[in-house]
Symmetry: C2
Subunit: 380 residues, 2 copies
């Protein structure tokens, strides 16, 4: 699961980055966290992207395509020494200033907030671990009395919590940005709000997405590997005994049991994307039926051609089972995006790509054929 | 590049499988080749899918999702012992026969052709290595005088060649299936033709697809890794010195040079998919211009938002460069499929998925929203 990490720390997933933060916190190790607060112009990473710079050890994560990573590590070391969080603006458009990435030809203006990793992250990390969203509010700039780095965390039910090691964001400030908080919370987006005396980073964090694979055959491992590569937490629910974590080295959890017990393998419905691929019609039918009628998982991919799903529905109909329209909308069969490849890894890629698209509210298809910005924007 | 191979031989790519065949042939090692000749009903792999069973060593490749792999290895060992190629029909629909995969619930009828790996593959493998298509014609069944395993190879220009270790397919037979050969050659599809006295497998093989990456920054390695995972041969052309194979461990070839020398890094135009991602507007412009005007590569992905391409075109226009419509049709910007993820590996996945889709003539939307079969069929 941490293959990407060990091989190329720059391209570590958000999932792995959070694990590294937890590990550093457990060991009480010094580290700086760098967060993209805002970008202007074309930028590789969006606001909210993070880099983790341990005092001892290699930096992980990416805040640009590589234009700024070196100066940012220096800046992080400086913040580790002073303990004072601050925002730094890197203007890659200013051609008179050749110090920042211009040799590489990057452009855009990027605001990076750099802060020490401290106990203020423990609570939001615990919320995420629990399957709940967390929105972290941080004062990143300002001329007022509020210290830079002041932090308040918004939990699943909208409650605002103070956190250790930081001043809370003053209530007047929170009230002033209440609309933004409500709009951003639970979306996974990040915005900065400038209200004159202070600039607040509103950083909405979503729990990791689970990819739940139902099956036990040879086509699961390549899918588990690709899914884990792009940051899914992978659970395998196998209708056959005799399989475990060693059968699926890239799965985080492996359980075996009757298809109808697949509900036990669903963490948080809302963040679980399921793929039914046992190649056994009876087992597949039971798993699909259970997932669609007993859970609210937003995506149930079913492997196999259209004709096979017809057979499956006929078998349901014979038993008087009829799936409501709302259930069928969550079903995706034939599973995957239309990539045309027929090799095991190509099939796996097509499925992971669809699950990722659905998890982000996208439809696949080519970006060039689509209007509007690459990334969905939340309304200002 | 062979990560998938070593980790999970079952999900090896066609690219790697061919490399393994070449290696076994160089060492004059005994092995059997299993090819899916035909399928009826739902099947995980399509005709043409191959499995390689060395006399000593682990089998590689997949002919089903795992239902038949064990009996097939036994069969391959039998053919290695007798030296006699033959076709075997596995009827997974026949519920009275519990010997083939029924315990796993697989269904469908699958015809597998099993033969010894011999010098008859050297010529088609050399053609593919040279960037040319090859269509391998093999008599896989029949009651006539033609020995099972008789083989003739069709080269790039349609010439028919006999190959060592096998009888040629008789001219009368070749003439009888001439239409099928013409229709299949160069498509990468596989068909069997039954003309009464003999059944001929018409197996069209395409050279490996190249993914040519133009750039030098941190976002290249994750892209190279995913692309190599799914079977692309990866070439990096970097506009900066100081990079080599160690910078991009999953690239097969790394060259550095001026953007306009990118043509030197294009193997066969027709099978090269290019992604321009140097993050430098001037370099990107030159690379795009060169690829679109001096080569016929079918796909030039350009990283960055729509606005950046506008800038790039304005810069071209100032210099009197105007891209013809046919060139713009090959350009894909913003590059990638609409998956919505913003992390380095998610961006990489979106790009590899688009290149794969384009290489297969697909558009990358959701299969469930598309009519017709999952895989494009060539006309009968």
């Amino acid at each position: 699961m941490t293959q990407a990490t060990s091989e190329d720390p720059w391209s570590v997933t958000e999932t792995d980055l959070r694990e590294q933060m937890r590990s550093l916190r457990r060991n009480d190790a010094d580290a700086a966290v760098v967060t993209v607060a805002a970008v202007d112009g074309s930028a590789y990473r969006r606001p909210g992207a993070k880099m983790l710079v341990p005092a001892d050890g290699e930096a992980a994560g990416a805040v640009t395509a590589g234009c700024l990573e070196e100066p940012v590590v220096d800046l992080a070391q400086e913040i580790l020494a002073t303990g004072q969080p601050r925002i730094e603006v890197f203007d890659l458009l200013d051609s008179d200033d050749d110090s920042w990435g211009l040799g590489l030809g990057c452009n855009g203006v990027i605001d990076l907030f750099v802060e020490p990793l401290d106990a203020s992250v423990d609570r939001p990390l615990a919320m995420l671990d629990n399957g709940d969203p967390a929105t972290v509010l941080t004062v990143v700039d300002g001329s007022g009395d509020t210290p830079i780095g002041s932090r308040t965390v918004v939990g699943a039910d909208g409650t605002r919590e103070a956190v250790p090691d930081r001043e809370p964001v003053p209530t007047t400030l929170l009230d002033a940005i209440g609309d933004t908080i409500d709009r951003v919370h639970g979306t996974g987006s990040t915005q900065t709000v400038d209200i004159g005396s202070a600039t607040v980073l509103v950083d909405s964090l979503q729990p990791v997405s689970d990819l739940l694979l139902f099956g036990s055959q040879n086509d699961l491992p390549p899918l588990a590997r690709l899914a884990s590569d792009v940051g899914f937490r992978v659970t395998v629910h196998s209708p056959r005994g005799g399989v475990d974590e060693s059968t699926f080295p890239h799965a985080d959890t492996v359980t075996t049991g009757h298809p109808t017990t697949i509900t036990d393998s669903v963490g948080t419905d809302q963040h679980t994307y399921a793929v039914v691929m046992s190649h056994n019609l009876v087992d597949d039918r039971l798993a699909v039926e259970t997932l669609l009628t007993e859970t609210e998982v937003p995506y149930v991919g079913l492997m196999g051609p259209r004709e096979r799903f017809k057979e499956l529905r006929e078998s349901m109909a014979e038993d008087g089972v009829k799936l409501p329209k709302s259930a069928l909308e969550r079903l995706s069969t034939p599973v995957g995006l239309d990539l045309g490849g027929g090799e095991p890894l190509e099939i796996a890629l097509s499925i992971v790509a669809e699950a990722l698209a659905v998890s982000n509210g996208c439809e696949g298809g080519r970006l060039r054929d689509r209007d509007g910005p690459i990334h969905p924007r939340i309304p200002e």
